[in-house]
Symmetry: C2
Subunit: 343 residues, 2 copies
């Protein structure tokens, strides 16, 4: 039997290509309505993996559409008598299944207040899709593994398509068209590489560090590791990590850095140097040769990927590495015992 | 020598009482200007402990002032060419030292765009204070321990005072006046209790769960544990925890729940039940007798504290327990090796 988790990871180039074709009219329609509404900010409601997609939107909408993003705590809308005023906002609910009642509640309240509302979901008949005025379906097919992979990158793509449609810039659509190819390249690079997980097999803790656009990737890779390996993987922005619990490295805690070459983030370099100094095992997701050579585990990325789409590519070796780690620990990454699926 | 960390924890009733008196004119002045600006949302820039204060503001401003809060990633403003539009926002920078360059950069950009800007800092002459149009000084005196305690609760108080001033409701100010007394009661309760940390002395991992207003408390207690004990304490909203890595409990991972009696959060009850079923060690911060009796480590809270001010009270036993855990592990909570202070 093909392992479901790996199967879904490998479907991603095809899923993304599908979405680019089939999802574009919906993205353009939503963008037109959003432009007409002239929102002052975006509010996004999501949980788990979908919340990491919202993290991507913070950078995407912030730098490309000048739209500030508030990641809503759904309980703010469900457990208190008064909800924040969002009538000048675009309110976006992200949920693979579209079933999450509190994400639905945020979108419903947004619509009640007169906000423009949008659902990003894999099920266009779900309660979330029904609650929102506009729907961006993921067209990703069924996802059976407990840990989401292809629906995560599809959520990023739906957000990226919306951003490109809002900006109305053909060059950005061209860059999006290349994403399936970049993701396929990342899969190939990974399969060609070694699987140096043996020395990490018994690690119970791990730090995952990223920054900027790829802070989302650090959070998502950490979540995959937690979901598939029961390893406590703690995600950080490199700045927060340096200002806080950097001392954890002194205990030889393994650190995974998500560092595609792009904006220079000096503090990522500082963390790599610290890991070397402390002889902490270093796992690197990067397209920078020097960094890959310095790492104990090198997870290479294709080069030449524009930063704004890089989170769809950089997460892929992290997904595969989580699987390798799970297998090395004698676990099955598809359906870890005890976890509940509800996103 | 009195341990600095504990000394600063115990100063909190006095610090908060001072701030209530000395800080009120500044809070009222800022509130008046904010009301005149009619902001559509709030953007808060902060790092580390201060970011947990921003988490509190999300609920506080959302439910009491109908103001949605976007927690900004400072790198969004410092590492990219285009910043989000915040001219309709109130932009708030929170930093104990007021030195954090990227928090300063967010406030400066907000002011350039025409937003109303506010600094919450312990140093009213700091770059952050200079950058903002309005300053709420914390009046907390010098903080010498690496892990922030009294400046954290002072940040919460400054935010709560701003919220009360914006609402202009005398009843809320009366509730604020009682906070120093509640905090003193929490300190007394804690000192009367036992210090059952021995069985947890060797734990390397811990989950900290909260919800609603006290999600901020869960994050802050987890950060204190990381900073003082090098224990990997992972904070979660109870909803996210149940939807994701709940399987971690099966490994007997200790779980700390922050559960002051307030809104009923059924998923907090579900986590307590799961911890009992899995025989995972349970640490409870609560004023609910049944929960305290069920817990392996009971960290009692005074009862009758309104939910909106409870995070200033509920964090206190967490601070003291982090200290106990550090001492039991042979560490000094004041200045753990290798950590850097820059908030």
């Amino acid at each position: 039997m093909t392992e479901l988790f790996e199967k879904e990871v490998r479907e991603q180039p095809e899923t993304l290509a599908q979405l680019l074709v089939r999802g574009r009219p919906a993205a353009e329609a939503a963008a037109e309505a959003i432009r007409a509404h002239q929102p002052r900010f975006a509010m996004i409601a999501a949980r788990g993996t979908s919340d990491n997609a919202a993290r991507y939107a913070q950078y995407l909408f912030g730098t490309h559409n000048r739209l500030a993003v508030a990641q809503s705590s759904p309980s703010l809308f469900t457990h208190y008598d008064v909800a924040p005023a969002v009538e000048t906002a675009v309110v976006i609910g992200i949920s693979q299944s579209g079933q999450s009642p509190d994400v639905v509640a945020v979108v419903r309240e947004g619509r009640r207040q007169g906000a423009i509302t949008l659902a990003i979901t894999n099920d266009p008949t779900s309660p979330l899709a029904v609650a929102a005025a506009f729907v961006l379906p993921l067209h990703a097919g069924q996802e059976l593994a407990v840990a989401a992979t292809k629906t995560y990158t599809a959520q990023l793509m739906a957000l990226a398509m919306l951003s490109a449609a809002l900006e109305g810039d053909a060059a950005r659509w061209e860059e999006l068209e290349a994403v399936p190819r970049h993701v396929a390249a990342a899969l190939d690079l990974r399969s060609a590489g070694p699987r140096e997980v043996v020395s990490l097999r018994t690690a119970e803790r791990l730090v995952v560090v990223g920054r900027g656009y790829n802070l989302s990737t650090a959070f998502e890779v950490a979540l995959k590791i937690k979901e598939t390996c029961y390893v406590m993987a703690d995600p950080y922005s490199s700045a927060d990590f340096l200002h806080g619990p950097v001392a954890l490295l002194e205990q030889g805690l393994p650190v995974l850095v998500v560092a595609p070459r792009s904006r220079s983030f000096e503090d990522l370099d500082a963390i790599v140097q610290l890991a070397r100094d402390q002889r902490a095992p270093l796992i690197a997701i990067s397209d920078a040769r020097a960094l890959l050579e310095a790492a104990d585990v090198a997870l290479p990325l294709p080069s030449g990927v524009p930063e704004w789409i890089s989170p769809m590519v950089a997460v892929v070796p992290g997904q595969l590495w989580a699987r390798d780690l799970a297998l090395a620990r004698g676990l099955t990454p598809t359906r870890p015992a005890g976890s509940r699926r509800s996103r």
